[in-house]
């Protein structure tokens, strides 16, 4: 503690340089935390899914529909407790600049199968009763200022025309991985107005026991193998994971960018620390002449590097944690549950530690090894 004024004075010697160095460390760790959170969010989405839920799609690809008539046959399969289905609607609202997911669902069975979507009972009932009613994620209220009871008109992109829906309910996900900015409406309403009738985009099935998943999936796919629309069934988790792989090797990309940024900042910080140490050759020699040991001077320089990197880390990582949480960021619905995890903060902290060692060790060792007489002779 008694060396604090000395440390403070040294850090304040070039205030702008110190602040810029802290700012670059903060920015580097903010970017690192942000990029890594993209990876962890995609990873969490890929992991999401109840072990008791299966997804059945067209075996050619999930963009091709399946007959809605499969619903009864699926319901009749051994081990299947509930069946629901949904269609990707692809609607646009207003100028379309703010994208959000729109689905047509079989309302009652869908909400029964997804208890993670919390809807107030009166709104749930109102939504179920209104054929042109819509259920929206809670975030859409904030984005568009919508209210329950309001009519909204979507422009269909896959199903052309204007589609006017009445907001009847608002759902709040109890699991952050579920999108909170989607809009859902009655599949019947879509089917009634669409030229392509009797088609379900995909089925979601609730089975009795998780350990039956493989058996039930095989039984389903075997049953429809020879039909016009053969199926492909897997766990909901595998289905979500297949979406994650559509991002490509985004993890490698994000990691590479993140590490490149950290490395670049390391060079900046190390350069600033070395400049600072070079400017103080005379002072280090004087301190040694006074009686400061090599070890103490090494420690003081490392401590300076530590204060810079730790301050930068606290600002950068703290800002990432608080900012995304405060703004409820979800990348326009693409990254629901975007939240900087504690493990990301821990890794960021370790990077800050490495940054401190890498940027401080050379100037610290230089200060410790400085030959006093030669240094004093040069400055005298």
């Amino acid at each position: 503690m008694k060396f604090l004024p000395l440390l403070r004075a040294n850090l304040g010697r070039h205030k702008r340089r110190t602040l810029l160095t802290i700012a670059s460390v903060a920015l580097a760790l903010f970017l690192f935390a942000s990029l890594r959170t993209v990876i962890t969010t995609i990873g969490a989405a890929a992991q999401f899914g109840s072990a008791r839920r299966l997804v059945t799609t067209n075996s050619t690809g999930f963009v091709l529909p399946l007959p809605v008539a499969y619903a009864n046959r699926l319901q009749a399969m051994e081990g299947v407790e509930r069946v629901t289905w949904a269609n990707w609607f692809g609607g646009r609202y207003g100028d379309g600049k703010r994208f959000f997911a729109t689905f047509a669902i079989d309302p009652k069975s869908y909400l029964d199968i997804y208890p993670e979507m919390s809807v107030p009972p009166d709104q749930r009932e109102a939504f179920l009763q209104d054929r042109s009613g819509a259920l929206i994620g809670v975030r859409l209220l904030d984005i568009f200022g919508w209210k329950v009871g309001q009519n909204v008109t979507l422009q269909g992109t896959i199903f052309p025309g204007d589609w006017t829906l009445t907001i009847r309910g608002v759902y709040t996900p109890t699991d952050p991985v579920i999108n909170d900015d989607a809009l859902m409406f009655h599949w019947d309403y879509l089917d009634e107005r669409s030229e392509r009738t009797g088609q379900a985009g995909w089925y979601i099935l609730q089975i009795d026991r998780p350990e039956n998943a493989a058996r039930v999936a095989k039984a389903i796919d075997d049953q429809f193998k020879s039909s016009n629309a053969p199926t492909k069934t897997g766990t909901e988790q595998a289905f979500n994971a297949s979406f994650a792989t559509m991002w490509g090797n985004v993890g490698l990309l994000m990691n590479t960018i993140g590490m490149a940024v950290v490395f670049a900042i390391l060079l900046v910080t190390a350069n600033a620390m070395m400049m600072s140490a070079r400017e103080r050759t005379r002072e280090v020699a004087v301190l040694k002449a006074i009686g400061f040991t090599d070890r103490r001077l090494f420690g003081l320089v490392m401590l300076e590097a530590g204060i810079i990197t730790v301050t930068g880390a606290v600002i950068g990582l703290g800002a990432a944690k608080l900012l995304y949480r405060a703004t409820n960021f979800n990348a326009a619905g693409f990254l629901p549950g975007f939240d900087v995890t504690w493990s990301t903060l821990a890794i960021g902290g370790m990077i800050a530690l490495l940054l401190m060692l890498a940027s401080g060790i050379v100037p610290a060792a230089r200060a410790a090894r400085l030959p006093v007489v030669a240094a004093l002779r040069n400055v005298e």
Binding site: K2, F3, L6, G12, I290, G291, F292, T293, R377, E380
Partner: protein, 229 residues
């Protein structure tokens, strides 16, 4: 027994292929409470001798003892704390830390001791009082004149009550008035406080203030003079 004992000291420097013998068997004693001026032309070995006594440099052979401790055989790890207890160093260019106030500069050597904050505060104020700058505690070096800076440097050198105060051209950067102030201060430190002082100087006025003058040339003493009290 002398406070400083230099016995058969040899010191050789190498500059590329060139070998420079600064001392060839130098022997010297300095008594406790003495005030010695080391004079001589540039390159005569004055500053090297000061560095050897302070343990900042090591003789090629021979022994340097201060207060009975063999400085020349100490390791760097032993030397640093020894220096903080026994040596006060004053440089020609003052060498105050520009980012610290006069108070903080003087406090530096005390940070290496186990003194409490209160004890450190008392000593810093006394030291700055002795050099007549107790009204400049919170001034930074850039806010002080050259003479005041050197007096702060002297306060820093004496604050830990060292065995020896070593000064390397302490008036080299000062005008006549400031030089006189510093010389008066050195005289007080020696006379009133009994400090043992060794000063390297080219300035005959500084030398005149010392009780003993040693003239070095090419590593040997060519002349010694004792002041008449």
């Amino acid at each position: 027994m002398a406070l400083v004992e230099i016995r058969d000291v040899h010191k050789t420097f190498h500059r590329g292929a060139e070998r420079i013998d600064v001392f060839n068997g130098l022997t010297l004693d300095m008594a406790q409470g003495s005030f010695t001026a080391l004079m001589g032309p540039s390159g005569s070995g004055k500053s090297t001798l000061l560095n050897l006594i302070a343990g900042l440099d090591r003789p090629t052979s021979g022994a340097v003892r201060v207060g009975g401790a063999e400085v020349s055989s100490m390791t760097p790890v032993q030397l640093a704390p020894w220096r903080s207890r026994h040596i006060g160093f004053v440089f020609q260019q003052f060498n105050l830390l520009p980012v610290l106030t006069a108070y903080q500069n003087v406090e530096l050597p005390l940070l290496l001791t186990r003194l409490s904050k209160g004890e450190r505060d008392e000593r810093v104020r006394i030291a700055l009082g002795v050099v007549g700058l107790d009204d400049r505690l919170q001034h930074y070096p850039r806010q002080l004149s050259g003479g005041q800076e050197q007096r702060v440097a002297i306060a820093r050198a004496i604050v830990a009550d060292p065995t020896l105060v070593l000064l390397d051209e302490p008036t080299g950067q000062l005008d006549a008035k400031s030089s006189q102030e510093v010389l008066h201060l050195l005289g007080r430190l020696n006379d009133e406080f009994g400090k043992t002082i060794i000063v390297v100087t080219h300035d005959p006025h500084v030398a005149a203030r010392a009780k003993r003058q040693l003239h070095l040339d090419k590593g040997t003493f060519v002349e010694q003079a004792e002041a008449v009290a």
